[in-house]
Symmetry: C3
Subunit: 431 residues, 3 copies
Amino acid sequence: MSLLGSQLHNFASSIWHLNRSITGEGVRKTLLAIKEVLPNLSIVEIPTGTRVFDWVIPKEWAVREAYIVAPGGNKICSFAENNLHLVGYSRPIHAKLKLEDLQANLYSLPSQPTAIPYVTSYYNEHWGFCLSQQQRDSLEKGEYEVCVDSDLFDGSLTYGELLIKGKSNKEIFISTYVCHPSMANNELSGPTVSTFIAKWLSSRLDNRYSYRFIFIPETIGSIAYLSKHKDLLKEVVIAGFNLTCIGDNRDYSYLPSRCGQSLSDMVVKHVLKHICPTYKSYKWTDRGSDERQYCSPGIDLPIASIMRTKYGMYDEYHTSLDDLTNVVSPEGLEGGYNAVMLAIEALEHNKYPEACVLCEPQLGRRGLYPTLSTKFSTNDVALMMDLLTWSDGSRSLIDIAEICEVPIWDLYPIVKKLVDKNLITLHDLAV
Amino acid sequence: MSLLGSQLHNFASSIWHLNRSITGEGVRKTLLAIKEVLPNLSIVEIPTGTRVFDWVIPKEWAVREAYIVAPGGNKICSFAENNLHLVGYSRPIHAKLKLEDLQANLYSLPSQPTAIPYVTSYYNEHWGFCLSQQQRDSLEKGEYEVCVDSDLFDGSLTYGELLIKGKSNKEIFISTYVCHPSMANNELSGPTVSTFIAKWLSSRLDNRYSYRFIFIPETIGSIAYLSKHKDLLKEVVIAGFNLTCIGDNRDYSYLPSRCGQSLSDMVVKHVLKHICPTYKSYKWTDRGSDERQYCSPGIDLPIASIMRTKYGMYDEYHTSLDDLTNVVSPEGLEGGYNAVMLAIEALEHNKYPEACVLCEPQLGRRGLYPTLSTKFSTNDVALMMDLLTWSDGSRSLIDIAEICEVPIWDLYPIVKKLVDKNLITLHDLAV
Amino acid sequence: MSLLGSQLHNFASSIWHLNRSITGEGVRKTLLAIKEVLPNLSIVEIPTGTRVFDWVIPKEWAVREAYIVAPGGNKICSFAENNLHLVGYSRPIHAKLKLEDLQANLYSLPSQPTAIPYVTSYYNEHWGFCLSQQQRDSLEKGEYEVCVDSDLFDGSLTYGELLIKGKSNKEIFISTYVCHPSMANNELSGPTVSTFIAKWLSSRLDNRYSYRFIFIPETIGSIAYLSKHKDLLKEVVIAGFNLTCIGDNRDYSYLPSRCGQSLSDMVVKHVLKHICPTYKSYKWTDRGSDERQYCSPGIDLPIASIMRTKYGMYDEYHTSLDDLTNVVSPEGLEGGYNAVMLAIEALEHNKYPEACVLCEPQLGRRGLYPTLSTKFSTNDVALMMDLLTWSDGSRSLIDIAEICEVPIWDLYPIVKKLVDKNLITLHDLAV
């Protein structure tokens, strides 16, 4: 097992037990754990009741305990044991109900009898318990004592933000969410990979672009963030990724920005094609995460999603089975990290080369071309010649890699050699 | 049998017997019958000899009677019995000929022995009779008396026109032709469906667009009309249809405008795809009706053809077999009417929605979204969300229906709901 | 055997024996032979040492004799017998070597044991002999006398140029190379076909365009020519072809310009598709001749290659087996000539027709349309009508031929008829 994979998996394990939701202490503790890796992380609070576009920041939710006592006296569905047992944002209740009355507030999945489903009710006051179908089927008739010792109160919504300044004030924007309780692929993998990508970028001295990471609750968090920072983001963000479901080892997946043609789309498709030719390419219709906000009309940020197996496309999704043992693995997390890293490196390298001499240069006298011409000699330097022939200042390195049908990273050493020999110059923008 | 189908079929039957040609009383009587349904129809005359672009309005043609008397005294090929027996625009003649001399002026179809073919000679003085191959084969040797009691005289070319004013002076242009004698799909179906579509539009109080219908003789009629009204049409017409061969129940067909990319093309393809996924899509090369004039270089109107089975693509075409019994049916006419109506409704609805709030609106508090989030809840409102996400003011409702792969009419109730809730506004043009 | 095919083949045979290289008497004698056919050919010399972009004109190479004397006294690898025996640009040497020491300077092809390979070393001082693998395997141990009586001296690089003036100063540019010793497809076929195409164009009195032919050494020749004439060429050249490997009878091939969308590309693809539907279409990645220079960034001339079987794609390529008996044939040369001629005729005819009348003209009164309309009459003039309908001034004749799916030469007689009847006018450029 690789060191990086273990690091990522250990970090995810360390924050597994926290009761994340769209607000509350679980989010704050998760952000503090991230801040231990990223000391410059800012933790921001937005008060309950703040208007954010069409939405209002909801009350903060706190849970002290929640459980059901069965007729025989057994305590079941204990929140302390598994935070998925309690419907997210359940209001307080303490009552005794007959089983037949309790049923309306119980949630289970007949098709997955061992799974506790993940259910929330953020914007409508409600309470409920989730349990496996097996457990539900075994409940005896009788009177049940229901206890939800929770609060819904004027508090705040919490998110984390980190800006890593590079040479340019143009930004790459990376968003991930921290509102899911104890589930691994959706969604400890996202903040885990994001945290360590941010750590890697923080350690580099010469980043071309600035990098903005946000760790937010899904939907309300991105809407709140955009309501504060939309104008800045529209000015500086040239590409960005939504990182979610990025820790299993089964697949690689891409979901486009709304326009589908942004730099982010181009780079994700390029990277995934070369690390996993059979990767899944979804459509905008399949969207379901914060890209819905980032790409909404009038916002129009160039945000694409990089995933391993997409939310909704694996059986364990949104159940207790989405864990760090069977679903998310060190290899899966490392593969996700690697894909994001390659995409960022591609953006950093994605300049517009322009040839410095007219016609082909004489590579031979520079030691870059065989001096003896035989029937078979011409292919040796084909990729170098192809890069040169497309270096007309109008094509980026990703464009050229696409034309040449090679991964962009195959071009990095050639670009370096040609720059060193003064045969090409690199422009930031198309000329 | 539906009421509408019967109405259409009855109307076609009522004008079946008239001797339509490119000029003459048959056209006038047909237009008067249409005027009974559409009282505002104008009937316009253009005098013989009028120059219309490269053409000249021909003499008017009148036929009192026409027949052949066979050697045994039998009267055959009587115009009174079937107007197809006489070659269109036959000059007067009264003569006795031997069968072998008569043969050069007889027309029949060896491959369809029971069919009387439809033959015309508009621009070259000629006479002739058409008969079935069976009848022709049974003719005995001997002397035949030929009588064509016709006139070719300075009169006029007649057409009908109806303008139904809407809120906008921008027009949808619908053209159909009334120059074919007793044949059903080509061409009583065209004026029949056009008449009743015009009746429907006349009964609506709130048409978005104005509608211009013309009932003309093919080719010379459209050329004459364009020579008078080209500048106006080029200014106001945003879409239009040539309605022909629209009464049989075998197929649906589309023939594009010359440019192939007009609003008319887009709407016809959209409608036919959804009412008949296997519809035939022809090319401009396959053209053969008045679109040849409307789309000619320098005219360039956006006119596409909506058809059931295209002219030339069914055996009975241009023969006496193209009748109201075996070829055109109430169901066929109603299907054609329905396709045109759906296309017009699509044009009326084809505005450019723009979202009124940034980011996704909170549908839940408006009762448009389920408040409880479970593993399976997100698909219920998917089409509404898709419409919202594409409501960026740059895409028309047809564009959005195409992206969402649904018929545009599935969007009408959703658009209404979103407009009512102030979540989108509708623009006439892309913003 | 056709007269033209024989002429082409005889001309190639007459210059077969000359020791062409990138400089030297073999090139001059080849150009003098071409000048006998094209008296206006200019022969131009560029002195050794002249800087041409990133390159320098090399020393001139002369060979008086070259051979090896085997231990038994036999003279082998005699340059006088086959100029391929000597590595191109071999420096002088007179020495005695043991076989094992000689081996490092011998070149053969194990996979083609009867072929003498073609090897050069232009830009690095070297000497060597080429021989068949069979001959090499039969060499006895012992001492060999090696003699290369050559000179590398300050002389010049020689090329030929012919400008045939047409009505327009816009030019079609044709480039071929004359630097290969005794090999037939690559590369006597190129100068042979080019010479006779130039002869044909010189004999025409009314060429629309001017035609510039250059006969150059490959790579260094095109670079040298461009370094002198780049600005003129960029101003006047509207299309052009690199003619190479154009004398065998196995295939037709096209290699695009770098942009792939130039007029040259369009015309070559159009012609080859219609004379050989299975022709090979290569990509820019497959390039390997002077198009590398003509299309390089900053030069960007619209030069495509017309070939029979492409260099590198036939076994005999760059060996003594590429001869005038088994590879290049009269039929092959004539087929290549014909393809180039059709491409040039297409360019000459490639004007933009515009209809002179609005709507369809009345072809009947001009004798261009049948006057009797029957069920089957409309197809007879379909291509004329199609040409008319696309004559909107925005489409060239090649565009229209592509739309109509006919070879452009099928349109020439129709265009003439329509121009004669004043139904269309022809524009030089899109209107």
